[in-house]
């Protein structure tokens, strides 16, 4: 048995005893039962498995567990807590903040069709809005297409709804700024 690897996942310390080469995706899904990130291409070509690692988007299908050791992972299940922490919300405020503005925008704009890729899309949106709080349509398209290692792909074709939702989330986050 390999030495346990310790990492932070959605704000909680987790210790995992798995082969350090195991893709982080399998660890999140099978060991930690976080099924937000999903298996897509398995080769960092689609974005369905994306999470934030120390605030940067990574593709967990090609990221070994060992690479995440000591780092902070955020999946869509952890986005509400991420938002609460970013806004410095008190415990009572945090309890009423049930969703990250990106998640709320995804619901308000009725973005998902099948929804399979949308976990990765929301991660990409959170990452984009952290760097550019007021992106134009062209900047959103650029971010979702040209950010390495690959475009975020949606086969249902929800790109236009995603753009609407990113812009709605940007407005909501601006309104919530302190």
């Amino acid at each position: 048995m390999s030495d346990p690897v310790t990492l932070s996942v959605n704000g909680r310390k987790e210790t995992v005893s798995a082969d350090p080469d195991t893709p982080l995706l399998f660890v999140l899904r099978n060991e930690l039962k976080l099924t937000g990130p999903r298996m897509g291409c398995g080769m960092a070509q689609c974005g369905a498995c994306a999470v934030l690692l120390d605030g940067e988007e990574i593709r967990t299908c090609v990221t070994p567990l060992s690479y995440a050791a000591g780092k902070q992972v955020v999946t869509i299940e952890g986005l509400p807590e991420l938002w609460a922490a970013q806004k410095g919300l008190s415990a009572s405020e945090s309890a009423t903040t049930t969703l990250h503005p990106v998640q709320q925008a995804w619901i308000d704009e009725q973005v998902p069709q099948c929804g399979y890729c949308q976990s990765g899309m929301m991660i990409a949106a959170v990452q984009l809005l952290a760097k550019n709080p007021n992106p134009t349509v062209a900047q959103i398209k650029d971010a979702f297409t040209n950010t390495p290692p690959s475009p975020h792909l949606c086969r249902c074709g929800t790109y236009s709804a995603i753009i609407d939702a990113v812009q709605r989330a940007a407005q909501a986050m601006k309104g919530a700024a302190r």
């Binding site: 869509i76 929804g115 399979y116 929301m122 792909l153 949606c154 790109y159």
Partner: protein
């Protein structure tokens, strides 16, 4: 939502029977009037208020707490049924849509079966069930309130009359009531003589004509009610079929044959020191590695793949030669034909002016973002449970039972969400389910099979290549007087499960024919003849069944409309007419005329013939063009207008704007339709500009996203939506069609920009620059 007495007749065609009284809760169960056997299971209980759920299969439960459970075998495939099914039921019951919970797809918990692409059919079912139930509830209220039905009104599930009020929940309080709904049809079974290898795709349908609301009385339908499946998908709460786990479950990775036709010579082996808990499992040409650890299964499967020996095989023509292979095939008679054969042939022969063209497309595929996955549990007692995302649960159930030669009742299919699949499972096959069932049976343990992307893009069924010869006769004024099309393609009805084929287990067969899928928009074309020819799969005799043709979103019509609308655009140009004016001159259909005018106006369409006066077929700067196409499908009318920019020298085509118009009768949910229209355009652009399955003589080679390219967000143009809703034409299908509008409109726009007709999909830079160079050389 409020409704006073609407236009419905107040006589109740069915009566409620009371099965007994209960101390707590109470419910009205609306179930089937004919006996059907269901695999009632203890875990099918739906909560505390369910009364004897193991024996009653209900369409609807009206519960004492004023919640309503609705059950349908049809499923959410991403087009919003979790929005518009509750809307439709709520409309007829006069309740809030939010009070309705949907249970979908599970064969032991839903009554009707049917395929999830059957929007109109399935929605009509639940609408009728709700309408029958509403009348029965009024009858019940009349008795309990002592007020005649004619004096009752219902608002948000509360019945009022004679100064008294009772909610639906109070009406059923303390009772176990049953309402029997008349039905017809049957659940599907494999049928070797049927077109799709199955007896029926529609399942059970509701019979009779209960009084239903008129469109003018609608309060909920027509509003943008949100789709119920969305919030849990946003927070990560949804359990998808890829998330399902069972105690003792093994993870499997399949080891596919070296080529499409290879047979297994010797299976590879596992180094137990490296992979101590992995195991090779084989049946015929079905080879897999299972392990309690998914990562071990992945690694060990790679190792087994590297050491397995397969026979050589090369029986494919190669994707570059596929049209030639079709031309060499002896096609026999058309398998489908529409129109007037003698008159059309005579008119074309007598024509003084005739235009002819050949349109073609290679293989394309559904290409879900999530490769297919399934979990199966085959018990020692012979019972089989499958967790899947098939859009045809009852059909899949029938295919699994047939494969194992076991009774239908021994199989339960449980439906869960998963990646969109765009028609791939409508016929009940083509997934990982057969693999999982076979492996579970062999290992005696629950097995989860996760296909890889490479596997999904190489081994799943495909939308076949086709070629169409089409010609039209024009009179002196340029009006079309006769049109003939002949389309040639392998069939698209082969949903045999890959696992069953490779393992050599029984499967259905289906006829190698195709059908005329167009709905004719041009009543002012006096003579038309559409012929469609079918043939078996390419490499049909190989061990895997070859390139298994299957339907894909807007099947048949997507392909046939490309040829038809392409030729209409060519004829308009030959006649020197604006392509929209030309279409208006060939139809008297008021719905089409209205939509064409509205969409053209929204797109700022400039009336003039194509090509554009600045059109060029060479040069390194961009030229612009615009094109149009129309379609009628399932009582819905559609118009697509594309604006493109083409760099002739490089062949690069950029779609700069797409305007889509839709008139599907009464629009049920404008926002969901807006989303479907825009996303359909994205899928259509992807197909028009990028997609093609490539294969050499032995195997598919487009097996990842850099080889099977689909549209990215940056490549999506501005998409403008025009919706026309009307109250006098019933409902039309809204979730297909949009994808099929793109290719012909873009083709027309490329012609407008360059003066050259692109007749071969996709419009990649390589294809377009080769076409323009060839034309330039001839010019």
């Amino acid at each position: 939502m409020t409704s006073n007495l609407d236009q419905r007749s107040s006589t109740s065609p069915l009566s409620i029977s009371r099965r007994g009284f209960v101390k707590t809760g109470g419910a009205l169960f609306v179930s089937l009037a004919v006996p059907l056997r269901f695999n009632g299971r203890a875990d099918a209980a739906e909560g505390a208020t369910s009364i004897d759920p193991t024996t009653v299969a209900s369409w609807l439960e009206i519960r004492s707490d004023n919640t309503i459970v609705a059950r349908t075998g049809r499923t959410e495939t991403g087009v919003g049924i979790t929005g518009y099914y509750p809307q439709t039921i709520a409309e007829e019951l006069n309740v809030r849509p939010e009070s309705i919970t949907l249970i979908m797809g599970d064969t032991d918990r839903t009554p009707d079966g049917g395929f999830s692409a059957g929007f109109l059919f399935g929605m009509n079912n639940v609408r009728k069930v709700a309408a029958y139930t509403y009348q029965a509830l009024l009858g019940l209220a009349s008795t309990q309130l002592g007020v005649p039905v004619s004096s009752l009104s219902v608002t948000d599930g509360v019945v009022s009359g004679g100064g008294k009020k009772m909610s639906f929940g109070e009406l059923v309080q303390g009772q176990h009531l049953e309402l029997k709904i008349p039905v017809k049809g049957a659940l599907p079974k494999p049928d070797p003589n049927g077109w799709v290898g199955m007896s029926s795709l529609d399942g059970i349908t509701v019979d009779g004509d209960p009084p239903m609301k008129t469109v003018a009385d609608f309060k909920v339908i027509g509003k943008s009610f949100p789709a119920g499946h969305i919030p849990d998908k946003i927070t990560g709460k949804t359990q998808w079929s890829c998330d399902h786990t069972l105690a003792g479950m093994l993870h499997a990775r399949m080891v596919r044959p070296a080529t499409l036709g290879s047979t297994l010579v010797s299976p590879g082996t596992i180094d137990k020191k490296l992979f101590p808990t992995a195991q090779v499992v084989q049946k015929g040409n079905l080879l897999a590695v299972v392990s309690p650890s998914e990562w071990e299964a992945v690694q060990a499967a790679l190792s087994v793949a590297g050491t397995s020996k397969w026979s050589d095989w090369s029986g494919l023509p190669g994707s570059d030669n596929v049209i030639k292979a079709f031309r060499d095939y002896n096609w026999d008679k058309p398998s489908g034909t529409k129109g007037k054969a003698a008159e059309t042939t005579a008119a074309l022969q007598a024509a003084r002016r005739k235009i002819s063209a050949t349109y073609e497309q290679g293989y394309v595929r559904h290409a879900p973002i999530g490769p297919f996955v399934a979990v199966a549990d085959v018990k020692a007692d012979g019972s089989v449970t499958v967790w899947t995302h098939s859009a045809q649960s009852q059909g899949l159930r029938a295919r699994i039972a047939y494969m194992l030669s076991i009774p239908f009742d021994n199989v339960v299919v449980r439906w869960m969400d998963q990646s969109g699949q765009y028609g791939r499972t409508t016929l009940g096959g083509d997934g990982a389910e057969a693999d999982a069932v076979i492996l579970s049976q062999l290992t005696g343990k629950p097995v989860r099979v996760q296909w890889t992307l490479q596997e999904d893009l190489a081994w799943s069924s495909v939308s076949p290549a086709w070629v169409s010869d089409i010609s039209a006769a024009l009179d002196a004024s340029g009006h079309i007087v006769a049109l003939h099309s002949a389309q040639y393609s392998p069939h698209m009805f082969d949903p045999r499960p890959l696992g069953a084929l490779l393992a050599g287990l029984p499967t259905s067969t289906s006829k190698p024919g195709n059908w005329v899928a167009t709905e004719w928009p041009y009543d002012k074309i006096a003579n038309r003849l559409e012929d469609v020819y079918g043939m078996p799969n390419l490499a049909a005799d190989s061990a895997s069944g070859g390139l298994r043709g299957n339907i894909m979103r807007t099947p048949g019509q997507r392909q046939q409309n490309f040829a038809l609308e392409g030729l209409i655009n060519e004829a308009a140009a030959a006649a020197g007419a604006d392509p929209i004016e030309y279409r208006l001159a060939h139809t008297t259909d008021e719905r089409m005329i209205n939509l064409l005018r509205a969409t053209a106006k929204a797109a700022n369409w400039e009336t003039r013939p194509s090509p554009h006066r600045g059109a060029r077929r060479s040069g390194s700067t961009a030229v612009k063009g615009r094109g149009v196409c129309v379609m009628i499908r399932e009582n819905a009318y559609w118009v697509g207008i594309a604006e493109v920019s083409v760099v002739p020298g490089s062949g690069e085509v950029k779609v700069t704007k797409f305007t889509i118009g839709g008139e599907p009768g009464k629009i049920i949910n404008p926002r969901q339709l807006d989303r479907c229209m825009k996303s359909g355009v994205v899928m259509g652009l992807s197909e028009a500009l990028k997609e093609e399955v490539t294969f050499d003589k032995s195997k598919v080679t487009s097996t990842n996203w850099s080889r099977y390219k689909i549209l990215t967000m940056e490549e999506m143009p501005e998409i403008q939506v025009v919706q026309l809703s009307r109250d006098d034409k019933g409902f039309g299908g809204g979730s297909e069609a949009a994808n099929a509008l793109v290719s012909p409109a873009v083709a027309g726009a490329i012609f407008d920009a360059t003066g050259v007709w692109p007749r071969k999909l996709p419009f990649t830079p390589a294809n377009i620059s080769a076409l323009l160079k060839a034309k330039a050389a001839k010019a």
